[in-house]
C-alpha cells in the first residue's frame, strides 16, 4: 500500500494550492452594499455537450471549480454562426471582439477602422462610453469583463487615420436636410446622411458650440475637449454644416425654407427639480443647468457646503465638478443604497476618492433659507418591496427629519427633453417625443426625431445608434437605399490561436494623482501602454470565432455537478438534466465503460437559457435577506 506517498502527495499539493491562493486577488461580497444574486439553476446528473454549438471558447473549463473539464481545440479558427455578446450588446453593434483581436495583432489603426464602421465618435466613446458591451462580456462571468472601453482608448490614442483611405463618399443627391441639435444623435445622423447618402446637411445648434450633452453635460476631466473637437471636426469634413447660436422653434418653417426633411435631436436638457416646498429658493440649482454653465466657461458662484440630490451619473458629475470649483464640503444625498445607485461603480469610487460624502437612504422633504444659508430638510428612508424597475422602493421613516445647513443645493435627479409647443409634435408625460419605433417618424410628414429627445436621458452610444437609425430612415424617405454601412478595415484574417485565453485579471488603469486632480479639469484617466493593452486582449475568449474542438472531456470522478459550466457557456452548448435517479443510473452505468460525456435522449437545458421554466426550478441565492 502506498499510503504515505498518496497522502504525502495530497498534503503537499494542498499546501501548494493554499500558498498560491494567498497571492491571488481576493473576492468578497460586502453586505449590504453589494448584494449577490445567483440565478436559479439546475443540478442534475446528466451533463451533455453539443459539438455543433460549442465554439471552443474555454469558458466552461475555466468556470469549473474543480478543473474537471479538459478541452483541446484546433488553433485555426473561423467566424462562428453568432456575433459575440459584446458585439450584440452594443446599441450600435460595434464589433468589439474583432478590434480586440486587431489590437492584439498590433494594429490599432485597423481597430479604429472597425469602430469607425459603426460610429463617427470613436474617441468620445473611448473616453466616456457607458460600455454595455462590458456588462455582457462572457469573461465577466468568470472574473472581470474585458476592459473594452480602455482597449478602444488605446486604439484611438494610437490611430494613424488608416480608415480614411477606404472611406466611401456618395455622389450628391441634391436633397437638403435640417437637423436640430448637435448632440451625438444629430451629428451621427448628419454624418451618415451627408457622407453615405450624399445629402446636404445643416445642423442647427442653440448653444454657442456643438456637441450637445457631450460638451455641456459630461465634464472636461472625463472627456477632454480636444478629443470631442477632433471627432466633430471629422464630421464637419464629411460635409456637415453646423450653425451654432441658432435656436429652432418651428420645424415646419424649416421645411418651408426648402429642406426636404427635419430631424429633431434636441436631447434632454431640462433638469427635473427636487419637487419639495422651497425648491425654487435662490441657491438651488438644476444639475444639468449647473454643468452647462460651468462647461460653457461661465462663472458659477458656489458656496463651501454643497449638497447634490440624486444617485445617477449626473449627480456624480455635478458633485465632482463642484469639488473642482472649490466647494469644500460636497455631499450627495441619495434615497436608496449604494446597490441601487444607477451611477457606474467607477464613478462612485472616484467620487468617494475625491472626498465627496454620500448619504444613503435620505430624501429631501423641504428647503428653507435663513440668514443667507439654505436649510435642507431630509427624511430618513428605509427600503421597501421591489418596484416595477426591480429596485427596492424607498419609504420614508416617520419622524426622522433632520436638517443640513448648506450654501447650495444641486438637483441632479433626472432630465427631460425641452420640446416647445411650437414644435407641434406628440409627447408623452415625460416630454419625450413620440415616434414610430422602426422609422423614427413623428406624426408630422418629413419630421423625424432621435436621441435623448425620444429615449429620455440615455447614453451617448444609444444616441448614436438612434442617429444611425434615423439616418437610414431619412435616406429611405428621400428615395435612397438606406445603406449606411461601409467597410473601412481590411478583410479579416483570423490568426491561429497559440493558447487558450490568459488567466490574469485586468491590468490597472493609471489616473492622475488625487492632489493634481481637484484644482483643474484635466482628464483624470490615463491611457494604456501597448504592453497593458496586449496583455488585456489576451484575456478575450473570442466568442465570435469557432475553433474546432478536437477533444472535450469531463472527468466524471471529479465533477460535483455544480452546474456552473452549463450556466457559463454563452452558446448553450452544455446542458444538464434533472432526472436525478434515472440519470444517475444511465450515467453511472456508461461511465464505467467509457469516461466521456453522454448525450441524453431528452435534452433539458438549464433554466439559465430558458426563463419560461425558471419558475419551477429551485432558487439559490448566496446571501439571505436579513432585513
Amino acid at each position: 500500500m502506498l499510503g504515505f506517498e498518496r497522502y504525502g502527495n495530497g498534503i503537499a499539493r494542498g499546501m501548494a494550492v493554499t500558498l498560491r491562493n494567498m497571492f491571488r486577488r481576493t473576492i468578497t461580497t460586502q453586505y449590504p452594499e453589494e448584494r449577490l444574486n445567483v440565478s436559479r439553476r439546475v443540478r442534475g446528473n446528466i451533463l451533455g455537450w453539443s459539438s455543433e454549438k460549442c465554439i471552443g471558447c474555454y469558458t466552461c473549463a475555466r468556470s469549473c471549480p474543480h478543473g474537471c473539464i479538459e478541452i483541446t481545440t484546433s488553433s485555426r479558427g473561423a467566424r462562428g454562426p453568432v456575433a459575440a455578446p459584446c458585439n450584440q450588446a452594443c446599441p450600435a453593434h460595434v464589433n468589439a471582439a474583432r478590434y480586440i483581436r486587431l489590437i492584439r495583432e498590433g494594429k490599432p489603426d485597423e481597430a479604429v477602422a472597425v469602430v469607425r464602421e459603426k460610429i463617427p465618435f470613436p474617441s468620445v466613446c473611448a473616453y466616456i462610453c457607458a460600455h454595455p458591451c462590458e456588462s455582457s462580456c462572457t469573461r465577466g462571468q468568470l472574473d472581470e469583463p474585458i476592459a473594452i472601453r480602455m482597449l478602444k482608448r488605446y486604439a484611438v490614442d494610437n490611430d494613424t487615420g488608416l480608415w480614411k483611405q477606404r472611406s466611401r463618399v456618395a455622389p450628391p443627391s441634391g436633397k437638403k436636410i435640417a437637423i436640430v441639435g448637435s448632440g451625438p444623435a444629430g451629428l451621427s445622423a448628419g454624418y451618415y446622411l451627408s457622407k453615405l447618402g450624399g445629402h446636404s446637411v445643416t445642423v442647427f445648434e442653440a448653444l454657442p458650440e456643438p456637441g450637445g450633452m457631450m460638451l455641456v453635460g459630461i465634464p472636461a476631466y472625463r472627456l477632454p475637449r480636444h478629443i470631442l473637437a477632433a471627432d466633430i471636426k471629422e464630421i464637419e469634413q464629411a460635409g456637415v454644416t453646423i450653425e451654432t447660436n441658432v435656436q429652432i422653434d418651428a420645424p415646419e418653417s424649416l421645411l418651408e425654407q426648402g429642406y426636404n426633411a427635419v430631424l429633431l435631436a434636441v436631447g434632454a436638457h431640462e433638469a427635473i427639480g427636487i419637487g419639495v416646498p422651497g425648491d425654487d429658493e435662490p441657491g438651488v440649482l438644476g444639475g444639468v443647468d449647473f454643468l452647462r454653465q460651468v462647461n460653457l466657461g461661465r462663472r458659477v458662484e458656489l458656496g463651501n457646503r454643497v449638497a447634490v440630490i440624486g444617485g445617477g451619473n449626473t449627480a456624480m458629475d455635478s458633485a465632482r465638478t463642484a469639488v473642482r470649483l472649490g466647494a469644500g464640503e460636497v455631499t450627495i444625498v441619495y434615497r436608496r443604497t449604494r446597490a441601487e445607485m444607477p451611477a457606474s461603480a467607477e464613478e462612485i469610487e472616484d467620487a468617494l476618492a475625491e472626498g465627496i460624502k454620500i448619504v444613503f437612504l435620505a430624501a429631501p422633504s423641504g428647503v428653507t433659507s435663513k440668514e443667507g444659508q439654505l436649510l435642507l430638510e431630509c427624511l430618513r428612508m428605509k427600503l421597501g418591496p421591489e418596484d416595477s424597475s426591480g429596485r427596492r422602493r424607498p419609504e420614508p421613516i416617520e419622524g426622522s427629519q433632520y436638517t443640513m445647513p448648506l450654501d447650495n443645493i444641486i438637483a441632479a435627479i433626472s432630465q427631460r427633453p425641452v420640446v416647445p409647443a411650437s414644435f407641434a409634435v406628440d409627447t408623452d408625460k415625460s416630454n419625450r417625443i413620440q415616434v414610430e419605433k422602426e422609422t423614427l417618424t413623428t406624426g408630422k410628414k418629413a419630421i423625424f426625431a432621435a436621441g435623448d429627445a425620444v429615449l429620455g436621458p440615455a447614453t451617448v452610444i444609444e444616441a448614436i445608434a438612434s442617429g444611425r437609425q434615423a439616418a437610414i430612415s431619412i435616406d429611405k424617405y428621400l428615395g435612397g437605399s438606406g445603406d449606411i454601412d461601409e467597410t473601412l478595415a481590411s478583410a479579416e484574417e483570423i490568426a491561429d490561436r497559440a493558447s487558450g485565453p490568459s488567466e490574469d485579471w485586468r491590468p490597472g488603469v493609471a489616473a492622475i494623482p488625487l492632489g493634481g486632480r481637484l484644482d483643474g479639469f484635466d482628464g483624470v484617466e490615463l491611457g494604456w501602454s501597448r504592453e497593458s493593452a496586449v496583455f488585456e486582449t489576451e484575456r478575450c475568449l473570442r466568442c465570435d470565432i469557432t475553433y474546432n474542438v478536437e477533444k472535450y472531456r469531463l472527468n466524471g470522478g471529479l465533477c460535483i455537478y455544480c452546474g456552473l459550466c452549463v450556466e457559463y457557456c454563452p452558446f448553450d452548448a452544455l446542458y444538464m438534466s434533472y432526472e436525478y435517479e434515472h440519470g444517475w443510473y444511465r450515467f453511472g452505468q456508461r461511465l464505467l465503460e467509457q469516461e466521456q460525456l453522454l448525450v441524453p435522449d431528452k435534452v433539458k437545458p438549464s433554466g439559465y437559457a430558458h426563463p419560461e421554466i425558471e419558475e419551477t426550478l429551485p432558487q439559490q441565492t448566496l446571501l439571505i435577506d436579513r432585513d
Partner: protein, 369 residues
C-alpha cells in the same frame, strides 16, 4: 559537545537583571504577560487575515487599517457578553477551570529565553518543567468539560485528555533526543549549544515534535477537541464573556508556546546574524505561526481513531528509533562534523517516514471513543 557553545558569557544577561532578585521576577513576569498577550492579539489577527487570503477573501478589513483593530473589537465584544453559568454545572469548578487552564500555559514562558540569559528563571531542568507544567493545562480543560454539565463539553474534554496523553509520549521522546545532543536540560543552554539549528541535526525529532505539538495545542488537523460539526464547540461550549475570553486566550497562548519552544529547541532560538537576538526570536516564532496557519488553512480534521492510531502506531515507534539513533551518534561518534551528520539524519528521516508509511494502517476493527 558542551553546552557553552561559542557564545561568550559576557554577552549573556545577568541572571538577576536589572539588579535584584525580586525586581527580576517582577519585571520578567510583566514582560512575559505583555509579550504573550500582545503576540496572541497579533496572532489572532494574522490568522484571520491569512486564512482569508487562503480562501481568496480579504479577511477582517473594517476595524482600523487592514483590520488591525479587529482583535480589539472582538475583545470588547466578548467582554460585553452576558456571563452565564449552566444550571446543571458545577459552579466552583466552572469558575476555576479557565484559570487552571490558562495559568500553566503562561508559566511555561518562565523558562523561554528571549535572548541570551533573558528569561525569568534559567532552570537547569527547563525542558522537564515545560513538559510537566504545560500538561496541567489539560486538567483545566477537563475541568471545563466536567463543570459545564454538557455532554459535548465532556466529549471534547475527554478527547483532549486522550490526545494529550497519546502525544505527550512521542513529544517527550523527541525532546529527549534534543537533550542528548545539547547535553543540557536548560533551554538557554540548549539555544547556546545550537551552532547549527537542531532542525537540521534532528530533523526527525523536529517532525515528531511539531506534529505532537499541533496535537497538544489542538490545532488543525488535530482540532477535534472543538470539532463544530461533531460536538458543536467542544469543551468551551457553555462558556461566555470573560471566562470564554480566557479560554480563547489560553488556546492561542498554547500556540505561542509551541512556537516559542519550537524556536528555542529547533530553530536556534535567539541566535542569528546582524539583527538583535530578540528580533530573531520573534521572527522565527512568526515563521512557525505562518506554517501553523498555513496548515490550518489546508488540512481537514482527522477522526479520533486516526488521531490515536497516528500517535501510537506512527509517531511513537519513530520517536523511539530516533532516540536510539541519536543516543548511538552521541556515544559512538561524539566528534562527528555537522556536514556529515546533517545529510545522514535527513536521509534517515526520509527513509524511515517512507518505510513506516507502508506499515501504517488504520482501523481494521472497531473504533473507540
Amino acid at each position: 559537545m558542551t553546552a557553552a557553545g561559542t557564545i561568550s558569557q559576557a554577552s549573556a544577561l545577568a541572571s538577576d537583571w536589572p539588579g535584584n532578585f525580586w525586581l527580576h521576577l517582577l519585571v520578567f513576569a510583566l514582560i512575559i504577560l505583555a509579550f504573550v498577550i500582545l503576540t496572541v492579539i497579533i496572532l489572532i489577527w494574522l490568522e484571520r487575515r491569512l486564512l482569508g487570503r487562503i480562501q481568496v477573501r480579504p479577511g477582517p478589513n473594517r476595524a482600523g487599517p487592514f483590520g488591525l483593530l479587529q482583535p480589539i473589537a472582538d475583545v470588547v465584544k466578548i467582554l460585553t457578553k452576558e456571563d452565564t453559568v449552566p444550571g446543571w454545572g458545577d459552579r466552583l469548578v466552572f469558575w476555576l477551570a479557565p484559570l487552571v487552564a490558562f495559568v500553566p500555559v503562561l508559566l511555561v514562558f518562565a523558562v523561554v529565553p528571549f535572548w541570551n540569559g533573558a528569561l525569568l528563571a534559567d532552570l537547569n531542568i527547563g525542558i522537564l518543567y515545560v513538559l510537566a507544567v504545560s500538561s496541567v493545562a489539560s486538567v483545566g480543560i477537563f475541568m471545563t468539560g466536567w463543570a459545564s454539565g454538557n455532554k459535548y463539553s465532556l466529549i471534547g474534554a475527554m478527547r483532549d485528555i486522550a490526545q494529550l496523553i497519546s502525544y505527550e509520549i512521542p513529544m517527550m521522546l523527541s525532546l529527549a533526543a534534543v537533550v542528548l545532543v545539547a547535553g543540557s536540560l536548560s533551554l538557554n543552554e540548549i539555544v547556546a549549544a545550537q551552532d547549527v539549528p537542531y532542525i537540521l541535526l534532528q530533523p526527525m525529532g523536529f517532525t515528531i515534535f511539531f506534529i505532537a505539538a499541533l496535537a497538544e495545542a489542538n490545532r488543525t488537523p488535530f482540532d477535534l477537541v472543538e470539532a463544530d460539526s461533531e460536538i458543536v464547540a467542544g469543551f468551551n461550549i457553555e462558556y461566555s464573556g470573560m471566562k470564554f475570553a480566557i479560554l480563547y486566550l489560553m488556546e492561542y497562548s498554547e500556540v505561542v508556546f509551541i512556537a516559542a519552544i519550537a524556536t528555542s529547541l529547533f530553530l536556534g532560538g535567539w541566535r542569528g546574524p546582524f539583527l538583535p537576538p530578540f528580533l530573531w526570536f520573534v521572527i522565527k516564532m512568526f515563521a512557525v505561526f505562518f506554517v501553523l496557519i498555513w496548515i490550518r488553512g489546508t488540512l481537514p480534521r482527522l477522526r479520533i481513531d486516526q488521531v490515536m492510531a497516528f500517535a501510537w502506531k506512527f509517531l511513537l515507534p519513530l520517536a523511539l528509533i530516533n532516540l536510539v539513533v541519536t543516543g548511538a551518534q552521541v556515544v559512538f561518534w561524539p566528534q562527528a562534523p555537522y556536514w556529515s551528520l546533517v545529510p545522514i539524519n535527513v536521509t534517515l528521516l526520509a527513509a524511515l517516514l517512507l518505510l513506516w508509511a507502508r506499515f501504517f494502517r488504520l482501523g481494521g476493527s472497531r473504533v473507540g471513543i
